[in-house]
Subunit: 68 residues, 6 copies
């Protein structure tokens, strides 16, 4: 506790997830007064054809994930 | 906001997801007075061996997903 | 199946939720070829102090939920 | 109703999921006075590179999933 | 790990949740070869006006939660 | 996108949530190359009687949330 879930479009690098996991754990410890071993981080990577904004699936857009 | 998550058995067509995403976004805008750009739709497709009803996994059933 | 979860800011009327639940169920039946009894809709109403966009909690904003 | 979601590291056998689904359904019926047909169980299997404890991804650890 | 989430209609007794939490933890340990300290159970209690089956909110039904 | 959900025991201050939301948004922007307006943070505050570790509800423990 706490458990941090991240929903995001599939395709980020392992390095970006590694860095996020390390730093968000430190942040949670600092904000919520917990110890690192109490923090869990789970990434839910969603394929582009399974995520829509404004009614349009990412897979039907020209733009990159970062543009949403 | 709002964020609409749909848990369902894996295997629906892109067209069915596209239609659902478009129309549920319109519906959310009409019901909750938001703009399309504020609505997110995320499909979580679950393999048949990871979803049970009445204690039985779909992958152990004869019947099709639509029968559950 | 399917299960439709809606995360949204707390404060919508029962009527808006009632209408959404009825119509999204019809939509899911039409798109995914399921029967109404197979569709579940769950609203998760989030207090304004527990939802942030662009790093700012709704409770710290002037604007209304519909502006997010 | 109820809906039981299980987040866990990917890689458990079908038999272990089958047994869990059967028995947790019986348990839910006994504790919450529902019928088996009302209980849904969904397994969300998370790859080792998408789950961190204490800021470290499982895929960066020596240890097995059961050691977390 | 694993993390077990239970979505259910609000109103079950503390005793029923206590029993479920204890026994589902034992079950997870037996099925998935983890230790009790690795298992988390989280109940998400949903108000009757926020859960619909077949397009109808529980709060609009005559029947009790166990009948769904 | 991304959407960051935080499950935690109820009772943290608004200031701690405000700081976490601001900083995790910056972190997500840096790691995942998104803009602040694309990041959503949602806190799900769970009552102590609805969260168990090792089969025991927090409400049945002597210890504080930070000790879990």
């Amino acid at each position: 506790m706490p458990i941090i879930h991240v929903d995001m479009i599939k395709g980020r690098s392992s390095d970006s997830k590694r860095t996020f996991a390390t730093e968000v754990t430190e942040l949670a410890c600092r904000c919520f007064e917990v110890k690192p071993a109490q923090v869990r981080v789970i990434f839910h990577e969603i394929p582009r054809e399974n995520w829509a904004v404004a009614g349009t699936l990412f897979s039907d857009k020209e733009e990159s994930p970062s543009a949403s």
